[in-house]
């Protein structure tokens, strides 16, 4: 009788043992694949959420008086826009900052209303990361206005509005934010430079730090050293509360992900090993008679390891299908912002289909060795 037929007959006879083994492994594979897919979705979601928290680094001219900066919300000193380009050329995966936007901010008066005029450059991101740009894109010839500006100037979306001598179309539906954005007009950088008569100038570079270190880990020292090495003409201000929240969010996610996979693997291994031990105990007499019939230790080991591997293969197929289905079905409600990015991970499923039988066989190895080393005479004497 072939060893596989032997294994199948035994599984058919001890259905509960086989069923529990199958369920345990299938559940483990389901959790592994689901947690991995969810971790990927969670990472995307976290990136988006933290990105949407806004910039947390402000690089301002080194001569800026911080008292004035915090009081007015912008630096009265200007720097050349080429500094933005200089910093942007250093953007790689190895630096601790990303998403660079040059801006020019100044107070301005329109029809007697004091407002803040902000010109924004394009966003620079590290190449090859496929990251979406932060914030909103400002089309040429358009501006985005705050709710108070809209109220006082009596403007709404698609209206035209003069800023200085230039005429722009209002591109947004102004909504109240409860922030200085309500009295701000956002324009393209070159438009703001033109209106303010500061061609080629910016007074700030905004960025996001990628260190994701909490405040107690002192990320600012690292950032100042790194950015100061490239642009000694700027001073680095970090919006620590924002940076800290972002770091904590990402660190928490990473910790959860680091905990789930090993826990599932350990629990799965213990479950398989325990069931294999019970199976060996149940089959002591059978092992004894197989020995008496001249079957070697290899054949006996294969009966146990083969069973685990066979069930591991079936469990992997079930678990991969179930885990993928569960994530595709329920993932979008968990991660609404990035739901379109939730997809099946077939290479991971294929890896699990190969790895699970090996894992199950390894977890059954000690019980199988117990079976092989069991003294058959002891069992056969137990009449």
């Amino acid at each position: 009788m072939s060893v596989w037929l032997h294994i199948l007959r035994e599984m058919g006879f001890r259905k509960l043992n086989a069923l529990f083994l199958l369920l345990g492994l299938a559940m483990a594979v389901t959790v592994v694949i689901a947690s991995q897919l969810l971790a990927e979705a969670d990472e995307r979601e976290t990136r988006r959420v933290t990105r949407d928290m806004g910039f947390n680094l402000r690089l301002i001219p080194v001569k800026t008086d911080l008292g004035q900066f915090y009081r007015d919300g912008f630096s009265r000193h200007a720097m050349d826009v080429s500094m933005l380009d200089r910093l942007a050329t250093q953007l790689t995966n190895n630096v601790s900052f990303n998403h660079l936007v040059g801006s020019l901010r100044r107070e301005y008066t329109i029809n007697g209303q004091d407002i803040l005029l902000v010109g924004l450059s394009d966003t620079y991101v590290a190449p090859g990361q496929g990251k979406k740009k932060m914030g909103f894109e400002i089309e040429k010839g358009t501006i985005h206005i705050g709710s108070q500006v809209a109220l006082v100037q009596e403007k709404k979306k698609n209206d035209t509005m003069h800023v200085g001598v230039r005429r722009f179309a209002v591109a947004n539906d102004p909504i109240e934010t409860g922030t200085p954005d309500d009295i701000t007009i956002f324009a393209r950088l070159e438009d703001a430079q033109s209106v303010l008569g500061l061609a080629g100038k910016i007074n700030e570079i905004e960025a996001i730090d990628c260190l994701c270190l909490t405040a107690d880990q002192d990320p600012l020292a690292i950032l100042r050293k790194e950015i100061g090495g490239i642009l000694p003409e700027v001073q680095v201000v970090q919006q620590r509360t924002l940076a800290d929240a972002r770091a904590k969010q990402r660190q928490t996610r990473e910790k959860v992900n680091q905990f789930v996979l090993p826990s599932v693997l350990v629990a799965g291994a213990i479950w398989v090993a325990l069931l294999a031990v019970f199976n060996v105990r149940d089959r002591r007499q059978e092992i004894g008679i197989l020995r008496a019939l001249g079957k070697g230790g290899g054949r006996i080991a294969v009966l146990f390891l083969g069973k685990a591997a066979l069930l591991g293969l079936v469990a992997a197929l079930i678990g991969a299908a179930l885990g993928t289905w569960a994530v595709l079905e329920f993932g979008p409600s968990l991660f609404p912002v990035t739901k379109k990015a939730i997809q099946a991970n077939w290479p991971l499923a294929a890896q699990l289909i190969v790895a699970t039988p090996v894992f199950a066989a390894l977890a059954s190895f000690i019980p199988a060795m117990l079976a092989v080393s069991h003294d058959p005479a002891e069992t056969l004497r137990e009449d």
Binding site: R14, G294, D375, L380
Partner: protein, 218 residues
């Protein structure tokens, strides 16, 4: 066929020693039917397992067909058991999830050929189990189970059958039937060592050895 020289087997249990076989010396000739009798716990099963290469003695030697059984490697002993020895146990020791044919074929080393399968079918037929080849041991009576165990022991045409109380769980009718099959194997030139505490096999045995507290008494 078998030669035991001063075979001693001592078990250590809970810090004390129990001598199961005590300098047992005997010979069994090829084609002989030997009954080993003695009370429960006198070392009969230990003797049988030792003769079958399943249990290394603490001292002494066992020779089977001129080969020192315990000088062989475990794999060589397993090969010898598979090709030359058939076992029959009191508790049958059948594999519960295999059908009758599967249980008999379990004795076959490697994949059974068509000839071996035919032979297994014939054995089931001869032992009155024809038509039940697809049943499982759990569906058989005690007598049928023991006949199945005999069929398994006979599959590889062994030279020697070691039977441990094969009639211990059977009614007199079934016991006589099993002994009859062992006697038939003996008449065909096979060697039988049958350990029992009853006298049912004495009429078929060429010789009876008496074992008491691990020692040969006659």
């Amino acid at each position: 066929m078998i030669r035991c020289d001063e075979v001693t087997k001592i078990f250590r249990k809970n810090g004390s020693e129990v001598t199961s076989l005590d300098r047992f010396t005997a010979e069994v000739a090829e084609g002989e039917f030997v009954a080993v009798r003695g009370p429960s716990g006198c070392g009969k099963t230990t003797l049988l397992l030792t003769l079958g290469g399943m249990q290394r003695p603490s001292a002494g030697s066992v020779q089977l067909g001129g080969r020192d059984l315990y000088a062989l490697s475990p794999a060589e002993r397993a090969g010898l058991r598979s090709s030359e020895i058939g076992f029959v146990f009191q508790m049958f020791h059948l594999v519960p999830y295999l059908d009758l044919l599967g249980n008999v074929l379990l004795a076959c080393p490697g994949k059974p050929s068509a000839e071996v399968r035919r032979r297994a079918g014939r054995l089931l037929d001869e032992l009155g189990l024809a038509g039940r080849a697809s049943h499982r041991p759990g569906e058989l009576s005690a007598g049928e189970r023991q006949r199945l165990a005999v069929a398994r022991a006979l599959l590889n045409r062994p030279k020697l059958i070691l039977a441990d109380e094969p009639t211990g769980n059977l009614d007199p009718e079934n016991a006589a039937e099993v002994i009859r099959h062992l006697a038939e194997f003996h008449r065909g030139g096979g060697t039988v060592v049958l350990v029992t505490h009853g006298a049912s096999a004495d009429t078929h045995a060429d010789r009876t050895l008496r074992l008491d507290q691990g020692q040969l008494k006659s």
